[in-house]
């Protein structure tokens, strides 16, 4: 037996069953339902951040200002090319750069070099600092906008547990046309089901708090026997 993988037609059938309009188009047309399904897919990815990828962004010498890929939904982090040692680039703020060296540093007039920081700007742009000194690529790790389902046989990249929430949310979007109260019950169901998907996300990313640095007791490097042995050995030097 195989694991189910929803196609666009499967989603639509499930929604039509929920709406009790299985056989023909009545209040909801096929193209309308397809629209709701794609919006529901976007919403599930927004809520769960399950799709993630690395994508290169071309940069050129002496230019600081770049756009994110058009299909980036949530940019997460960036790292430099092998040319720059594949080091992580750190997010900062324009005002933080202004404050360097007591506010006396003219960073905007700085010469080009290996970039080590970037300033996210607007929703789709970023500024590399220092400006790159060579033509290369930086790598963005992001959550992309999911590819829309167009043909009836198209499938999503989401795992099954996340796929199941798509039809619930799409049914909510469709039902709002007819009965707001029933629609809200679908929304409630979606939020309950979403918890199981978020559990999957947590398992996948092994999240630790990223904003506050975890305390020493959370230092996982000690779980590695060779590191532990090395650290312990230093005590006797």
């Amino acid at each position: 037996m195989a694991i189910q993988n929803y196609t666009l037609a499967d989603f639509r059938l499930e929604i039509k069953t929920r709406l009790n309009e299985i056989s023909n188009d009545g209040l909801w047309s096929t193209s309308e339902l397809n629209g709701y399904i794609n919006r529901a897919q976007l919403r599930v990815v927004m809520d769960t951040r399950i799709l993630q990828r690395d994508i290169p962004i071309n940069v050129t010498a002496n230019v600081s200002f770049y756009s994110l890929p058009t299909d980036t939904l949530t940019p997460l982090w960036m790292y430099g090319p092998a040319l720059w040692g594949s080091l992580r680039l750190f997010p900062t703020f324009l005002l933080s750069l202004d404050k360097q060296y007591g506010g006396m540093y003219q960073w905007e007039k700085d010469s080009d070099n290996q970039s080590n920081a970037f300033v996210p700007f607007s929703y789709n742009e970023f500024i590399l600092w220092p400006a790159p000194s060579s033509v290369t690529t930086v790598n963005l790790h992001d959550v992309p906008v999911p590819s829309p389902l167009v043909a009836d046989t198209d499938t999503t990249l989401l795992p099954l547990v996340a796929q199941r929430t798509i039809s619930i949310f799409a049914a909510y979007l469709a039902m709002m046309k007819s009965d707001m109260q029933k629609a809200m019950s679908f929304l409630k169901e979606y939020k309950q089901r979403l918890v199981s998907v978020l559990e999957l996300t947590r398992h996948q990313s092994q999240d630790r708090p990223t904003v506050l640095a975890p305390g020493r007791s959370f230092d996982r490097s000690m779980a590695n026997p060779s590191i532990r042995a090395f650290r312990n050995s230093r005590r006797y030097y």
């Binding site: 309308e32 397809n34 629209g35 794609n38 919006r39 976007l42 919403r43 927004m46 809520d47 951040r49 962004i57 071309n58 940069v59 050129t60 002496n62 230019v63 600081s64 200002f65 770049y66 756009s67 994110l68 058009t70 939904l73 949530t74 940019p75 997460l76 982090w77 750190f90 997010p91 900062t92 324009l94 005002l95 202004d98 506010g103 003219q106 905007e108 007039k109 700085d110 996210p120 700007f121 607007s122 929703y123 789709n124 500024i127 400006a131 906008v145 829309p148 167009v150 709002m176 046309k177 707001m180 629609a183 809200m184 929304l187 708090p209 990223t210 904003v211 506050l212």
Partner: protein
């Protein structure tokens, strides 16, 4: 199909929800102009809530001119520079306190600025008054040269498929390799709406660049923008694509809130709840952008992000909103 929706597509979804497909402007229900108005209002309101759309702009300085007018596109200023140096904000009280004769100071290189008055557009006074004219290239003349190149969608490499001829016009594509961080902005004098505002490549339809300035010897500003008013049905809201569908819900709320035969405050409330739910997800997602960027010492925000922003920008008072909003 993409999740980028233009004004026409958003209106079409609204009309589907309203089961209102009449194009008769005299129909009793909701006219196209009315729905367009709601969509534009939704865009502004969503921008106020999310503050997603930021922009740069230069204010060209003229020697010995003290007061400058900010652009009408500004919602809130974030940062000022003069000649690419950070310009801290001050006010007249501080200047009086620190140097009683500051009003008589001779023109020099500015190192502070203040807002002397409040009006529709910001008034800006750099202090001291600039003593030099800033860089700008306008209008283009045969002496200065006119042509550069189109850029590909990556914003970096030149698009060699365009040749410049009478049909396409003459300009566009600039980069300042002398250190200005603003490389090239789309020509928003002629047409601010480039689909999704991602590509820097101009098209034949955009016309030519009219003015170009750098921030050398000028005031450079970064700001949270007021989105441009959408006119054509092909105009795209200047918000990320995940916000576009949320605008539908806001406009529907406005449709049912309108005084008259179709008023239904309960439905309006329901649509506003749907808008709040969608925008909460958008804001939650926004909070997770660049996850390692330290914004506050609190690792997690309590409660609803949307509700907090709603308190800051106001909510539709006709609706009896639940305490959570």
């Amino acid at each position: 199909m993409s999740e980028v929706l233009n004004k026409g597509q958003i209106r079409s979804i609204i009309e589907t929800y309203l089961m209102n497909t009449s194009s008769d402007v005299n129909s009793l229900s909701w006219s196209i102009a009315e729905l367009d108005g709601y969509i534009n209002e939704a865009t502004l309101y969503s921008q106020q809530i999310t503050q997603f759309y930021e922009d740069f702009e230069n204010i060209v300085c003229t020697a010995s001119v003290s007061t400058y007018t900010g652009s009408p596109r500004v919602y809130q200023y974030q940062r000022f520079t003069w000649d690419r140096d950070f310009l801290p904000q001050t006010n007249e009280y501080e200047l009086d306190r620190d140097d009683p004769s500051w009003r008589l100071a001779s023109p020099n290189n500015p190192f502070r600025f203040y807002f002397p008055q409040m009006a529709q557009n910001y008034q800006i006074v750099p202090y001291p008054t600039p003593s030099q004219n800033g860089f700008q290239y306008a209008p283009f003349s045969s002496e200065l040269g006119v042509v550069a190149n189109f850029l590909n969608a990556d914003g970096v490499t030149a698009d060699k498929t365009y040749t410049f001829n009478q049909e396409f016009g003459i300009v566009i594509g600039f980069q300042d390799t002398q250190g200005a961080i603003i490389m090239f902005r789309p020509d928003n004098v002629t047409d601010p709406f480039i689909a999704n505002k991602i590509t820097y490549a101009a098209s034949a339809e955009l016309g030519e660049l009219q003015i170009y300035s750098t921030d050398e010897l000028n005031i450079g500003t970064s700001m949270v923008r007021i989105p441009d008013t959408m006119v054509s049905d092909f105009d795209v809201p200047q918000l990320p694509q995940q916000c576009h569908f949320g605008l539908v819900f806001y406009a529907l709320m406005k449709c049912f809130m309108r005084e008259g035969e179709f008023q239904d405050l309960q439905l309006a409330s329901g649509w506003f709840e749907a808008y709040g739910d969608w925008m909460e997800s958008v804001l939650e997602n926004k909070a997770r952008r660049w996850a390692t960027r330290v914004r506050s010492m609190e690792p997690f925000e309590d409660g609803s992000l949307f509700a907090k922003r709603l308190l800051a920008v106001g909510y539709p008072q006709q609706l009896d909103l639940k305490p959570s909003y």
